[in-house]
């Protein structure tokens, strides 16, 4: 369980994340949604101790992320930020193997190799394992980075906009994959996501933010209400049911 207590992050005087308290479950997919500048990515980074909060604290299975040694936390929680360094000429295999660093300390065992192989197979990257990252398409590269965090074999996985720069086909495939990962490997996956319809279809749990505050903590059904969406995004979004899924039509 990830518990967030009164978390605040201020830059100068402006609060980007403003007194947020949340509890994220042990398993399933949690989607963090909200307009630009709502503080979603900052919240995620603070959860993963990449940014120090101005006040408040985050507990991962009871461990305070600011006080726990990085190497200990790295076995429980993995984060993948957007804008990864694509200029680095590493092969897919090498990148994924770095996910084992918290466990192997640079001396990979048979067990580590197995995790790497599994993660690569799980993401369907077997044919690409000796290819350099800068020779891959955006979708393939994103899958390679996700394989790396899966190889890290943590209970909690935080992904900052994993659908960014993916086309329709690859975005849907990525969400299906995350759904399958959460179910089959019983992980707790938290994604910052822009497309509310992906959240509606794939998330078990939704956190909606605006101006650094939590507007909603609940299920996808709670999010997909016209009045709720109006409050969060400050724009009219019609909601229709299609094949049992509630979809927002923000194009209209």
């Amino acid at each position: 369980m990830i518990e967030i207590h009164n978390l605040t992050k201020r830059y100068e005087e402006a609060a980007v994340v403003d007194n947020v308290s949340l509890t994220l479950p042990e398993s399933g997919i949690t989607a963090i949604v909200g307009p630009n500048g709502a503080g979603k990515s900052t919240l995620l980074s603070m959860m993963a101790r990449l940014i120090a909060p101005t006040s408040g604290r985050v507990l991962v299975d009871g461990l305070d992320v600011q006080a726990t040694p990085g190497a200990v936390l790295a076995k429980r929680l993995a984060i993948l930020k957007q804008n990864n360094q694509v200029g680095m000429r590493l092969t897919v295999n090498e990148l994924v193997a770095f996910g084992r660093f918290p466990h192997s300390g640079g001396r990979p065992t048979v067990e580590d190799k197995r995790h790497v192989d599994e993660a690569i197979a799980y993401l369907g990257l077997d044919d690409l394992r000796t290819r350099f990252l800068d020779e891959l398409s955006g979708g393939q590269r994103q899958r390679a980075f996700v394989a790396m965090v899966l190889a890290q074999d943590t209970k909690y996985v935080l992904l900052d906009e994993p659908l960014n720069s993916l086309d329709m086909k690859h975005a849907a495939a990525m969400m299906k994959l995350l759904r399958r990962t959460a179910d089959e490997l019983t992980k707790s996956i938290t994604v910052v996501i822009h497309d509310i319809n992906f959240a509606s279809i794939y998330a078990d749990h939704v956190v909606a933010m605006r101006d650094g505050r939590v507007m909603l903590e609940g299920g996808a059904v709670d999010l997909m209400q016209e009045t709720m969406l109006k409050d969060i995004y400050d724009t009219v979004v019609k909601v229709r049911e299609v094949d049992g899924h509630r979809l927002g039509l923000h194009y209209l």
Binding site: G70, A74, I79, Q85, R89, F98, F101, G105, G106, Q152
Partner: protein, 333 residues
């Protein structure tokens, strides 16, 4: 920092690397037998009357060749580590003000404590280099990331400013000639007793292999590094310390060779990638080979006179550099 050596990861012997080492050793052998004074192989072997030849070999030829090997190796490694820490393909100690700062440090010593033993001169020069490079790294992290060429351009200007200060004082105190020898690599003056600090640089290059994985991870970014539970700041500090000491050792002995490391690191990256566990040995071997080859060319072109190795490396290097730039444009443009 706990050392992470796992040399058995790739059990398959790197045949290509062995071949490259062989080529470099062959170049080194050639380098031993080029010079104005005659040193027939026969004399060396016979032993009688060869005393002069052996003297020449021990005092001049071997030191020069060893100095070239150590410099080439350590400059290549320093450039590659720097490229990881700055996450930029176009940085190396001569494009970031590091070498200029080391020269300034050495000038300060020459003015204030000229009698200081050479080892302490190097220590002062490396602390100047370290401070300046750290400052430059902070500066780079503050500017918005635009074109990757902005960083080396800024670095060249930064180095230019430092160099202006150094030149001013060198001019005032009649030290311009010394200044020129610090930054323009020239191995013709290398004699026994005047290059041994380069073993420190060479040793650091070898030791950096122990932290190869950490430097690679740092090259993937701060978030990436911290996600894996590693201390990013400590990796940066270690890397900058190595780079500064290597640069300072070069400045106080035979001088630095501009762009050598940058070119070697880029070519190796194209060939074997950026995983430092694999790339570092290649960079070390290629750096040594490239510098040796340039020095041999410089000694042969106008025999019996010499062209400084920096000039040869500059001519060859700018060609390679141009190729790299155009190639990049083709790929990303």
């Amino acid at each position: 920092m706990q050392a992470v050596a796992s040399m058995s990861v790739r059990v398959r012997p790197a045949a290509g690397l062995m071949l490259a080492v062989g080529c470099v050793l062959a170049l080194a052998a050639v380098s031993l037998f080029i010079g104005v004074a005659d040193m027939p192989l026969g004399d060396l072997i016979r032993g009688d009357g060869g005393a002069q030849a052996i003297q020449l070999l021990l005092v001049s030829r071997i030191p020069r060749t060893v100095a070239l090997l150590l410099s080439g190796m350590s400059m290549g490694v320093a450039a590659l580590i720097m490229q990881m820490l700055f996450r930029n393909r176009f940085v190396e100690p001569t494009t970031t003000g590091t070498v200029e700062a080391a020269s300034l440090g050495l000038l300060v010593v020459a003015l204030l404590a000229p009698g200081l033993p050479i080892f302490y001169k190097m220590v002062v020069a490396s602390s100047f280099a370290l401070g300046t490079t750290f400052l430059f790294l902070r500066l780079v992290s503050k500017i918005p990331t635009g074109s990757s060429l902005v960083v080396p351009l800024l670095g060249l200007m930064f180095g230019g400013v430092i160099n202006a200060v150094t030149t001013f004082f060198a001019y005032r105190y009649d030290l311009l000639q010394s200044l020129a020898t610090w930054t323009n690599g020239d191995f013709s003056g290398v004699l026994r007793g005047r290059y041994e600090l380069l073993f420190i640089a060479g040793g650091l290059a070898v030791l950096s292999y122990l932290a190869a994985d950490r430097f690679t991870v740092a090259g993937l970014g701060e978030s990436f590094t911290r996600n894996l539970g590693l201390n990013y700041g400590r990796i940066v500090a270690l890397g900058l310390a190595i780079v500064s000491m290597v640069s300072a050792a070069a400045v106080v002995t035979a001088g630095t060779v501009p762009f050598l490391g940058l070119i070697v690191a880029n070519l190796v990256s194209l060939a074997v990638g950026d995983n430092l566990r694999r790339a570092l040995p290649w960079v070390a071997v290629s750096g040594a080979g490239f510098l040796l080859a340039c020095d041999i060319i410089g000694r042969l072109v106008r025999f019996p006179y010499e062209i400084p190795v920096g000039t040869v490396a500059g001519v060859l290097g700018s060609g390679v550099f141009l190729f790299l730039l155009l190639r990049r444009r083709a790929r990303f443009g």
